[in-house]
């Protein structure tokens, strides 16, 4: 029972980070009009920036967090001009392949140049491994609580922006129909840029929480995360922001439980198998695509 509780909390922490990642991903799908496969790679690159900042400032967590968040925002912003011509002509599949190319470039930079390709490890103090709540042998760490609370906070902040602000209305209008949004006087390019900035901000925050939750990062993490994010997006329905949150939690939970109770490295296979089955039976996802 205690192992189950410990794994459940771990799974919820991981799931909440996935939810944040999927939210940023879906924002770029809906407003950016692209399929941002390289989004997770940008998040992992932000993890590296966070680590570098901490190394340079003697493991200063505040500087690391700031560096992670700012670099996520900046890297996402830098990629906007690359995808603009593709978004203009509605080449979504083309944008997917360009994003794959970008992911290849980012992975190679991380593998060849950053920390000489060696896996980076975040300080124990940053990961928040100290137990705050104890259930027998199972513990809830400060890092897990910070991840869950922070992800919920960031998610709520984003949905407030989306449903209670003018910018959010512009995002939703562009998601429904960029043509109609233009007729209504919504500046398309500016709105897209804001979407990239906010997606980058969410990505930077996710990078920090991933660093806390996983504790390490490597060049291959981007590919793993990218597939999980895409898979969650397909499970929920591409572009479905609300559905993505639920699907991310489902994936986090199933991964956590599989890791706890099955031998070997079956968690990925089972997670992807689940998604394949959903895609084959319900190609538009469990909750449907964004209308």
């Amino acid at each position: 029972m205690e192992i189950f509780l410990a794994q459940l909390i771990n799974a919820i922490a991981l799931g909440s980070v996935y939810a944040l990642l999927v939210t940023g991903f879906n924002l770029l799908v809906v407003v950016g009009g692209i399929f941002p496969f390289a989004y997770s790679h940008i998040v992992v690159l932000s993890m590296y920036m966070c680590w570098f900042a901490m190394k340079m400032t003697g493991d200063n967590a505040a500087v690391g967090i700031l560096a992670g968040v700012l670099s996520g925002t900046a890297f996402s912003f830098i990629t906007e001009p690359v995808f603009r011509p593709l978004a203009k002509r509605g080449a979504v599949l083309g944008s997917f392949i360009v994003a794959m190319a970008l992911s290849l470039i980012i992975t190679e930079i991380m593998a060849q140049k950053l920390n000489m390709g060696i896996v980076i490890s975040f300080p124990q103090t940053f990961q928040g491994k100290e137990a705050l709540i104890q259930f027998g042998t199972a513990t809830v760490t400060a890092g897990q609580i910070a991840t869950i609370v922070g992800s919920i906070g960031a998610g709520l902040g984003f949905f407030y922006l989306l449903y209670r602000t003018k910018q959010g209305r512009a995002f939703r209008a562009m998601g429904q129909s960029p043509f109609s949004a233009r007729l209504l006087g919504i500046p398309i390019v500016k709105t897209r840029i804001y979407a990239y900035l906010i997606a980058g901000l969410l990505g930077g925050i996710s990078a920090v929480f991933l660093a806390m939750a996983i504790g390490t990062a490597s060049s291959s993490l981007g590919d793993n995360l990218a597939l999980k994010v895409m898979a969650v997006s397909m499970l929920a329905g591409v572009g479905n922001l609300g559905g993505g949150l639920v699907a991310a939690l489902i994936l986090g939970l199933s991964e956590g439980m599989v890791l706890a109770y099955l031998p070997g490295d079956w968690s990925q296979a089972i997670a992807f198998g689940m998604i394949m089955v959903v895609v084959m039976i319900r190609p538009k996802g469990l909750f449907g695509t964004m209308a």
Binding site: F35, V82, P85, L86, A91, V92, L93, G94, F96, I97, V98, M100, A101, L102, S103, L104, I105, T107, E108, I109, Q112, D223, L227, M230, A231, M234, V238, G264, D265, W266, Q268, A269, F272, G273, I275, M276, V279, M280, I281, P283, K284
Partner: protein, 297 residues
């Protein structure tokens, strides 16, 4: 022939075959990456049959290809009607699933894989024999009613349905055919490298093949033939410090091509231009030959 040249020719042929698997199914607008996963099945099953059961190469080859074809049917039936992205993600997921399965099953050697696969005499001829066979198949497909039907499906699925094209059946058949090609490529790959490990059939490999097809040109089969030897071969002759950046070069090329020339280097317009100029040159040559003969006569 030197060993390095042998590997270059052998692997180029195999990568051309894999590029064609992506090309063939993309003719109807679907990006299906399942052949890479089925390549793993072909490689592992043929190697296992030879190493563990002691089967001869021909029997192991047939067994692996049949299993690959059977396995290709399963996702094909489910993904035949799937939207483009569903197929892309599901088939990428399939690659990861296959990797995980082979990595965790002890009788396939786990993470270490299978090694000591015996050398096959005349494997180069066998490989190029299959390459020519698949090339002719795809060429005949492209220049037939099926090829024209694929063009319509690619342009507008609704119009294709209205014209009576069964898109689902078309998709399933192409997925199975490309699965068979993937299995053949897998067997040939295993017996070339003589080692099979799960990491060979992963995402970086898929990205390399995607680069060959999209940089070469995805609207014709010739782009893969011309550009695979170049893209595969150039990093081999570069100094080691540059060769390590092979994936980086692929990423830059892929991005540049899609942004600047979305159909790739060799597209249909280029082929038409080449054909027209070749015909003009031939006409000129024929005219000059006739003139010369007339003067002599």
């Amino acid at each position: 022939m030197s060993l390095s040249l042998y590997y270059y020719f052998q692997l180029t042929a195999i990568f051309i075959m894999l590029g064609w698997t992506l090309y063939w199914i993309y003719r109807i607008g679907q990006l299906n990456n399942a052949p890479i996963a089925i390549m793993a099945i072909g490689a592992y099953l043929s190697s296992y049959a030879v190493l563990t059961w002691g089967w001869p190469f021909a029997a192991a080859f047939a067994f692996a290809v049949i299993c690959g074809a059977v396995f290709a049917v399963i996702p094909a039936l489910g993904l035949g009607r799937a939207p483009a992205f569903a197929m892309v993600i599901a088939t990428i997921a399939l690659i990861f699933i296959m990797q995980t399965v082979f990595r965790n099953l002890p009788w396939f050697g786990g993470a270490l894989g299978l090694f000591g696969i015996p050398k096959i005499k005349n494997l180069l001829w066998i490989t190029y024999g299959f390459l020519i066979f698949f090339g002719i198949l795809i060429y005949r497909f492209d220049h037939s009613r099926l090829g024209r039907a694929a063009d319509i499906v690619f342009e507008d699925r609704d119009v294709a349905s209205t014209l009576g094209i069964n898109i689902y059946l078309f998709s399933v058949c192409l997925q199975v055919m490309t699965g068979v090609m993937g299995a053949v490529a897998g067997v040939l790959y295993a017996f070339t490298i003589r080692t099979v490990i799960p990491v060979y059939f992963g995402f970086p490999f898929l990205l390399a093949i995607t680069t060959f097809i999209f940089v070469g040109g995805y609207t014709t089969m010739w782009g893969v033939i011309v550009f695979t030897p170049i893209l595969w071969g150039i990093p081999l002759i570069l100094p080691e410090s540059f060769a390590a950046y092979r994936n980086f070069i692929y990423g830059v090329l892929l991005m540049g091509t899609l942004l600047l020339r979305s159909e790739g280097a060799i597209d249909r317009r280029f082929l038409r231009w080449l054909r027209i100029h070749a015909e003009h040159a031939l006409d000129k040559l024929t005219h000059r030959w006739k003139k010369l003969n007339h003067v002599r006569g």
